[in-house]
């Protein structure tokens, strides 16, 4: 079987099955990615017919671009809050909705629903809520904190983004946690009860360690989505007021398409890619070590 001819036969068979996908993957992922890397060495503006090679100059500009690092810092802060809040909320929801509550499947569907609405639409809905509904209520009811629009204040605008993101993703993560919770074997929990473990002890010592794979997936997903956020950022705050909520994806986009600095924009995108890849890989690597067997 493992002759020259066999190798070719097997390769041919594999190509037959993976070929179409591979073809799509290479044309829409790999080629643009490599072309993007090439663009980082040019000073292209996005439209001119010639592309001048400028060497590593664009990467120098990335490290000198204070706004890029500021927005990266802001994104880190946003990711920290959204990852923690989304997962805590999602886990709590999942826990409550697996206790056998009446109508729990309706609740599950309800909490999952925001995830089915696109980020742009969500942004506009919440923009209306923060700009009009809350302000109206705040002024009528005399609640100081709501009487002016949250979107007009840099600190509050940041929190509107966190709130909307948590609200959107908590339901999705909840579904994963529900699956994890129902997958915890009952015999282990029963054995713990017999040994006299309290509910809290069972949770911390049994359930959570057995659910590590769910946590890995959820934290990975929320990390990655947090870093890549663009749609909500665009439609809810547009990076404002005065660029105080401009996350890193938006900054990269503005650099490439608004400032017409394709080279620097691409270089920033590449640096961002490396940083996010490093962070998420580290997260997966370290949390894998926490996995236990029942």
């Amino acid at each position: 079987m493992i002759t020259e001819k066999g190798v070719w036969n097997r390769l041919r068979l594999r190509l037959l099955f993976t070929g179409p996908t591979l073809f799509a993957f290479i044309t829409v992922m790999i080629i643009p990615f490599v072309y993007g890397i090439y663009l980082t060495f040019t000073s292209w503006d996005g439209i001119s017919t010639t592309q001048t090679l400028v060497g590593f100059q664009n990467y120098g500009s990335v490290f000198k671009d204070a706004e890029f690092w500021k927005s990266f810092g802001l994104t880190l802060k946003y990711v920290l809050y959204t990852v923690v809040l989304t997962n805590v909320l999602a886990f709590l929801l999942a826990y409550i909705l697996t206790t056998g509550l009446k109508g729990q499947s309706i609740f599950r569907a309800g909490f999952f629903l925001p995830n089915l609405v696109g980020g742009i639409v969500l942004g506009f809905i919440w923009q209306f809520i923060f700009n009009n509904v809350l302000v109206y209520l705040g002024q009528k009811a005399g609640i100081g904190i709501f009487s002016t629009s949250w979107l007009a204040d840099p600190d509050h605008a940041f929190w509107t983004l966190v709130i909307v993101t948590v609200w959107q993703y908590a339901g999705y993560m909840m579904v994963i946690y529900v699956a994890g919770l129902t997958g915890v074997p009952n015999d282990v929990l029963e054995a713990a009860s017999i040994d006299g473990a309290s509910g809290w002890m069972k949770m911390v010592r049994m359930t959570v360690p057995l659910m590590i794979p769910s946590f890995i997936v959820c934290i990975f997903l929320s990390l990655q989505r947090g870093f890549m956020v663009y749609d909500v950022n665009l439609s809810l705050t547009k990076g404002g007021p005065f660029k105080s909520t401009e996350f890193v994806s938006m900054h990269v986009y503005q650099k490439a398409f608004l400032s017409r600095d394709y080279g620097v924009g691409q270089a920033e995108a590449l640096v961002l890619f490396l940083l996010v890849a490093a962070i998420t890989l580290l997260q997966v690597y370290f949390s894998k070590k926490l996995e236990v067997e029942a």
Binding site: L16, F17, G19, P20, D45, G46, I47, S48, T49, N131, V135, T148, S149, L151, A152, D153, P154, K238, G240, P241, F242, K243, Q254, F257, L258, S259, R260, D261
Partner: protein, 438 residues
């Protein structure tokens, strides 16, 4: 077994071929379309003036009636996107529209891809300087579509009441007289003005008054901008800039939204002004359709200049900022010669045919950049602007600022407006921006 496997493979291959050929045939179709349409030409126009989208579509229909062999389709730049972004995307995908409506400053970037229009008849009929900024190496690459201007728009009904008689716009020619007017409006029961906090309004319209107001001679203005780039201009000591910002301080003081100055949206401006809740709004003549829908002053509106000092004769105190703002270019890379000819015909139709002129002036409320079009402006703001231009009280707007100017310095202006930064910070940010601007 062997046979079954063979059939399976065959099926897969067939499926794959069908998928591939599906892609292929759609390509073939589009080519056939282009060929079979030799009797009729289909052209497209990428519109970046969202407020005239329906008017343009009607104009396309009227044009088709006059020229049954040409079908014009109007595409729109997505809300909030810039024409440059959309056009460069379309070029990158190999599917550019026949005509693109660009902002003045973008034309140069496209000059390798668009037709030289110097030979067109309408070049001889443009208003003064209309094509200067789109002419490179003696060749004009773009069709000037509209003259637009901006300043303080006033609601005459509110101001008449405030001054107790007929309001005369010529009386407002200093910062002090403007402040006095604000006080009179407030005393009469309305609010003085609304400052719309959009970055494009503050960054592309208000702040550039500081550059354009330096001198009536555009060469001096360009020298000033070069000085900013070189870092030799001390903006903090500049009289025009400081005068403009003093006026801005007055605007902030009487702003209806001062409790939350950044919360406002564009739509709030025309509503407040039209309903007479405020007397004044800083905006341009393109806002007329929106103001009109709230109008309570029987269409009596006009422009006031933005004063930059307390000396009435200083340049800028009696002038309204205006310029040719939208340009149409014709693609030469993917468009067939027939399409190019059809596009040229459309541009000529706008300038020389009654229906085209009617669309431009009466339907789309545009102030044309052509001398031969004698129709009076259809709306009060256009009329007011034309009056200022007619008596040479106009200041050339800054049309070729760097592409990210409005966004970055608009943010700085918002900071100032919300009192999150003072004037020293604003000066610093403007100076820093220009040193690195492209």
């Amino acid at each position: 077994m062997k046979r079954v496997k063979g059939t399976g493979l065959l099926m897969l291959m067939l499926a794959f071929i069908v998928v591939l050929s599906a892609c292929g045939s759609s390509n073939g179709n589009s080519k056939e379309n282009a060929a079979s349409n030799s009797a009729g030409v289909k052209i497209t126009l990428l519109n970046s003036k969202g407020e005239i989208q329906t008017q343009l579509e009607d104009a396309a229909k009227a044009f088709h009636e006059d020229n049954p062999d040409i079908t014009l389709e109007i595409q729109a730049v997505p809300n909030g996107g810039s024409p440059f972004e959309r056009a460069s995307t379309l070029y990158a995908s190999g599917n550019p529209p026949t005509m693109i409506m660009l902002d003045t400053g973008d034309v140069e970037k496209f000059k390798d891809r668009v037709l030289d229009l110097s030979g067109e008849k309408w070049n001889a009929d443009t208003v003064a300087n209309a094509t200067d900024l789109t002419t490179f190496d003696g060749k004009n690459y773009a069709f000037p579509l509209a003259v637009e201007g901006y300043g303080f728009i006033y609601n005459k009904a509110v101001l008449d009441k405030a001054v107790g008689g007929t309001f005369d716009p010529a009386t407002i020619n200093t910062t002090d007289s403007l402040e006095k007017l604000f006080q009179q409006i407030e005393a009469s029961g309305s609010k003085a003005l609304v400052v719309s906090p959009m970055d494009w309004s503050l960054g592309a319209h208000y702040l550039p008054l500081a550059y354009a107001g330096q001198n009536k001679d555009m060469a001096e203005v360009n020298k000033f901008v070069d000085g900013l780039r070189a870092g030799t201009v001390q903006l903090g000591d500049n009289a025009v800039f400081n005068g403009l910002m003093d006026t801005f301080d007055v605007m902030m003081k009487y702003n209806i939204d001062q409790a939350s100055p950044l919360a406002g949206v564009y739509e709030r401006g025309p509503e407040l002004l039209g309903k007479g809740e405020v007397g004044i709004w800083f905006m341009g003549n393109w806002a007329w359709p929106q103001i009109n829908s709230f109008d309570t002053a029987n269409g009596a509106y006009g422009f006031l200049p933005v004063p930059v000092s307390n000396n009435p004769t200083d340049y800028g105190n009696q002038e309204i900022s205006s310029a040719v703002s939208k340009r149409i270019v014709i693609d030469k890379e993917k468009s067939t010669p027939e399409q190019q000819a059809a596009a040229k015909k459309f541009l000529e139709w706008i300038v020389y045919q009654d229906k085209g002129q009617d669309f431009l002036v009466n339907k789309a409320s545009i102030i044309p950049a052509f001398k031969n079009i004698t129709l009076p402006a259809a709306d009060p703001l256009g009329k007011s602007l034309q009056d200022y231009i007619a008596i040479d009280r106009s200041e050339q707007s800054m049309s070729v600022l760097p592409a990210d100017h409005w966004s970055i310095l608009g943010a700085s202006m918002q900071k100032y407006l919300s009192k999150a930064g003072d004037r020293a910070l604003l000066v610093k940010e403007i100076e820093e921006y220009w040193k690195t601007a492209k």
